[in-house]
Structure formats: structure tokens, C-alpha cells
């Protein structure tokens, strides 16, 4: 799974441009599901059919990025954000467009660093004039962070896009481990698009799947760094079973089933109360007549920067927890 995680985290895939990530995942899940399809918005859906309730598991393929909005006569590229990016994060950073064009960031003169805004910044792709810039980048092109993933730190990893390629890797691994096994639930794995711009892909995918239960697998923040905002989640203490965030309150029966599954198998877990932020579970639980939903989160530091950090044991234990949950008959018990 480490190899897959590295490949996924390093892949280009800002919101709306998930193609390269989708191709990696499609190759991985073909052979692990009864049906693999892509819907109108670009969600990749891998279905394991059979008897039992339909369980939708969602991890999003997209990452945050920047979008070219204007190219000036000197070849500087003005931009806006795609998803939650801080202008401060971008200083000194490198981004890459889908065609491989790399750029770094500059700013207009500032009296105070607090005045730093996207409108005062530009991407410098090394073009000498407008014409040569436009040969490489067009208005509307979207770039993502350019960073290698480091998995050689010991138990922890630093990479861009652990949000949410770690979730994607978890769900591929879940399908691998379920291969050839009979379980009492149907599994619909959704690799969703456009989560970072408002959980858009999960909305249409959940409508199409029409699940009985929904679970998002995504990252969450931690409170385990110096003078951090208080949050009772730490790296290395197990996957976090979401209690609530801004978009969903995990169905209490589903939360209990996840806790029971972890306890029965001796899998470490934490409970997550996230004050701000949402996941794909938000739109999923409001689909059609309502879907009991929740989330399992990978504790992650420095989210939405090119250097997010997670603990591999949490990722591995998330796989174990989801498999343990899916081994339970989930239908009758839930409501």
C-alpha cells in the first residue's frame, strides 16, 4: 500500500482535473469489483454487488490548487485559488499544470505581509513574454502543488495531497482484502471529484448509488503540535471515528458499530470532533430520503499545504477498521 500511496500522493489532480488520479485508481480496482464506471461528473465508482445493504465508501481524488485567470504582456500568470489554499502557503512554493509546466510564485510590492492576497500575486512560469506564456498555459488551466512524497521518515509520511489520496489508498486496500471473500454487505467504493470546492462529486455519486449507509474516508486535523488549537486527535493513535464536523453528525448507531468493530478486533481508534470543515459524508447523508452516514478519518497535520503529515499505522488501521465493519451485517441493526 505504501507504494500506491506514494504514487497517488505525487499524482496531479486538483479539483476538476482528477483524470490522472482516476486512471491510477481505475487500473487498481478493475478486477477487484463487479463493475467499474465513471459518472457524468467524473466520479469513479467500483461496485461489489451481492446480497445485503448497499454501503457507499467515499474518498475524494481531488486536491486543492490554483487556477490561471489572466496572462499579462510580460508572461506572468495571475491566478485564483481552487479550494482552501492560503496565500502564505504559496510563497516559495512550486506548482505544476497538467501539461507539466512548472511555476513558482511572486508578489507585487507589499507594505505589510498581512496585505498578501491572491490578487497581488502571480505565477512565474519562466516565460519571457505573453506569447511564450500562452503557449504553455491558458486562462482556466489549473495547477497543483509539485512535491515528492517521503515515506522514509520512519512511521510517518510527508506528502502533498494525503488529503485525500490516503483515503483513496485505504479504499483500494479494502477492496484488495475483500477480494474473493463473502461479506454480508454490498460495497460501492466512490472515488469522488471536486470535494475541495464543495463536496460536489459525492452528491451526484450518492444519488446514483442510492446507498443504505454512507461512509466518507478522509483526513482530519490534529491537536498534537505545539500550542495547537485544542482537538483531541493525535497522529499514531488510530483512525478517527468522526462524531461531527460542519457538514455531518455521524449517525449514532453507525458510530457505535464502528466503535464496536474496532474494539472487537483490538484496532486502536480515536473519536473526532471537528469544529470546522466538512467531508463527502455531508452531501451523502442528505441524498434522496436521507442516508445514515459517517466518516473515518486519517489524522493529518498541515492539511492543504504541500507537506501534509500522517502516520502510516493510522492508515493501515483505517483499512482494518473498515474491513472489520464490513464483515458485520449492517442492514437490520442500523435503524
Amino acid at each position: 500500500m505504501k507504494e500506491l500511496l506514494k504514487k497517488l500522493a505525487e499524482a496531479y489532480g486538483p479539483a476538476g482535473n482528477e483524470g490522472p488520479v482516476r486512471e491510477i485508481l481505475r487500473k487498481e480496482v478493475e478486477g477487484l469489483a463487479d463493475e467499474v464506471k465513471v459518472d457524468a461528473l467524473g466520479n469513479l465508482i467500483a461496485a461489489r454487488r451481492g446480497p445485503g445493504p448497499r454501503v457507499l465508501l467515499a474518498a475524494h481524488m481531488d486536491e486543492v490548487g490554483v487556477i490561471a485567470t489572466h496572462i499579462d504582456e510580460k508572461g506572468f500568470v495571475r491566478f485564483s485559488n481552487v479550494g482552501g489554499v492560503s496565500p502564505y502557503t504559496l510563497l516559495g512554493e512550486r506548482v505544476v499544470f497538467e501539461n507539466g509546466t512548472v511555476g513558482t510564485f511572486g508578489t507585487e510590492k507589499l507594505d505589510d505581509i498581512k496585505d498578501l492576497k491572491f490578487a497581488k500575486m502571480f505565477i512565474d512560469i519562466g516565460a519571457v513574454d505573453e506569447k511564450s506564456a500562452k503557449e504553455k498555459v491558458s486562462v482556466g488551466d489549473i495547477a497543483g502543488f509539485q512535491r515528492d512524497a517521503r515515506l522514509d521518515l520512519g512511521g510517518r509520511v510527508i506528502a502533498k495531497s494525503l488529503d485525500d489520496r490516503s483515503g483513496c489508498a485505504v479504499l483500494v486496500q479494502v477492496l484488495r482484502e475483500l477480494k474473493g471473500r463473502d461479506i454480508p454487505n454490498q460495497v460501492y467504493v466512490v472515488f469522488s471529484v471536486q470535494e475541495e470546492v464543495g463536496t460536489r462529486g459525492a452528491k451526484t455519486a450518492a444519488y446514483g448509488v442510492n446507498p443504505d449507509i454512507g461512509i466518507a474516508v478522509d483526513v482530519t486535523g490534529t491537536g498534537d503540535t505545539p500550542e495547537a488549537y485544542p482537538m483531541d486527535v493525535s497522529l499514531g493513535k488510530g483512525p478517527a471515528i468522526k462524531v461531527k464536523d460542519s457538514s455531518v453528525i455521524t449517525h449514532p448507531r453507525l458510530r457505535q458499530l464502528m466503535v464496536d468493530a474496532a474494539r472487537e478486533k483490538g484496532i486502536p481508534y480515536q473519536l473526532e470532533v471537528l469544529e470546522r470543515g466538512g467531508t463527502d459524508a455531508g452531501p451523502i447523508h442528505l441524498t434522496r430520503e436521507g442516508v445514515p452516514s459517517g466518516a473515518i478519518s486519517i489524522p493529518t497535520r498541515y492539511i492543504h499545504t504541500p507537506s501534509e503529515m500522517a502516520d502510516l499505522s493510522d492508515i493501515e488501521n483505517a483499512v482494518k477498521l473498515i474491513v472489520a465493519l464490513l464483515e458485520k451485517p449492517l442492514g437490520e441493526k442500523l435503524l
Partner: protein
Amino acid sequence: MLLKALTEAFGVPGQEHEVRDILRDHVRPHCDEVETDSIGNLIAIKRGASKDGPKVMLAAHMDEIGLMVTYIEKSGVLRFYPVGGIDPRVLVSKQVLVGRDRIPGVIGAKPIHLQKRDESEKPFELEGLYIDIGAKDKDEAEKLVKLGDGVIFATQYAEIGSGRAKAKAFDDRVGCAVIAELLAKDRRWGFTLQAVFTVQEEVGARGAQVAAYALEPDLAVALEGTTASDVPGSKEHLYSTRLGKGPALTHTDASLLADMRIVRRLMEVAEARGIPFQLRELAVGGTDAGRIHLIREGIPAGVVSVPTRYIHSPVSIIDKQDFEHTLMLMEAFLDSIDERGLPC
């Protein structure tokens, strides 16, 4: 003239009846079905050659930003609240029309010679403004208006300069006019064309949501009037669009990452027919397409806009060439679906 009638019509969100009546009369002779749905959207259908063929939706919103009467003072003046995104600084001293009966009024505020020094140095805030309809007291005012009445700006359409026009509510009567004129060409395509004139876009694209759910199109394009900030004081990279440079194609706004297959098709047909176009150089704002593309299992969507200066104010300006080119582009786009199939 359609654009004049549409832009002078009354249409704050939820009270789009005048706009709907004008559009219904204009499109009915050219369509197979024209209906108003439960929320007030006007839906005009031109059926295609086969029943199972694709369905293409074009959407433009009938509503405009405006005000709503919230309180009548003892003195007979009206307190109000904005409906949709209005900068309160543009309101003072504007002439307005209140309610279905178009009662004339003026937005008043404390006069300059009574203002304290710190008051005169700041723009008026909403709380300090009121509408004066000339009523002597509350009783007289209540005979003319009631709480919840919408308020529009009393702006006349006029053609000015070289080929430009000024009016209120080009956002989005210009989009309504493009679709209505397209229907009036009395052409038919192989696919079913669903023209939807939506309600309540300015308060959250509400009409488009239910229309798209009911109609289940295979592809949707929203027609809009979008920001043109090509004016003094604005830096070039923040212009977004420019008047006279043709219809603006959206790649991204706050509500939508446009389906690039639609954007590319639009660019291809524009180039093939020599129609000028521009890319919208701004990633903020939202349209009906933001709601439509998330309906049911997802609907590929895009946005084509007529550049409009000073939107969300009492008066805006467009270039009529941009309007004509937008109409040409949309016709070419629909033709391309017959010739080459849907782009997605």
C-alpha cells in the same frame, strides 16, 4: 423591442411575474410546450426529431437584485432590506418603483446639512436609508404598499454611445433575451431543446435546482450577464471580461468547474464561424449552472455570458454586438450537437 421590455419589467426574486408574462408571450408561438412549474420557472420545450434523443437545457434567470419592504414607519416612509447582493453605497437618492402597482418612490437619507461630521465622511449604511413614496403617514402608505412588496430601480432602457445600451437588470434579462430570440428563430434541431427561464437565482439559484430535477437534461448551459470590470481604477488582471470582445466563456466560478468538453466545443464552433469570444478571467461568482450540474447523477454544464458593466446596481451597460455574438454562438453550439453529437 424585447430587451427594452425585459429590462424594464419588474422581477425581484420570487416576484418574477412581469418578466414571465413577456417571455411567455414571446416564445409560445415557437414552442411545443410552454409551462410554469410550481416554483415559477417558465419552461419552454422544442421537441426533437426522436423521443429518445438527447435533451439540452438552456437556462437564464428572470429575477433581478432588488429590495423588499420590511416595515412602514408612522411617518409613512418604508424601511427595506436588499434581496440579492446589492452594495448599499449605490442606493441613496435612487428612484424606485414599489410593488405590483409600481408606486414611485425615492430612496432617502438624512440630508447633508443635518449630518454630523463623522457621518458625512462615511457612506450611508442600510439602516440609515428608507423609501419615501410621498405618503403623509402610515395609513396612507398602507393603501399603496404592503410588507413584502418588491422594489425595483426605475431605470429606463436606452441605447447610448456606439452600439451600447444601458438598463437595469441586464443580469440576467440579457440571458433571457438570448434564449427567447433563439427560440423565435423558429428552427428545430434533432434533440429536444429545454429552455428554462428560472426564478430566484439571485438568492441561491433555487429555481434552476427544481427545473433541472424535473427535466433531467443530458447537458445544460446557463446564459448570463457577467461582470465586466474593464473600467478606470480596475487593474487589467481583474477585468474579468471586456465589453465588445464577444461572449465570455466560464472555466470556473465559485459554484462550478465547467465541463471543459462543453467549453472546448464552444470555442471550436466560435472559431469555425468566426464569432469572437473571450474567457472569463475571474473565478468568483455563481450561476444557475452551479446548481444544475449537481442534480440527480450529475449534468455536464457550462456558462456563456454577455459582458456587463456595473451589474448588481441601478443601471448597467452592455455592448449590443456582444449580445448578437452570444446569440450566434449559441445557435452554432446547438447546430454542432446535430452535426457531431453531444460534447459529453
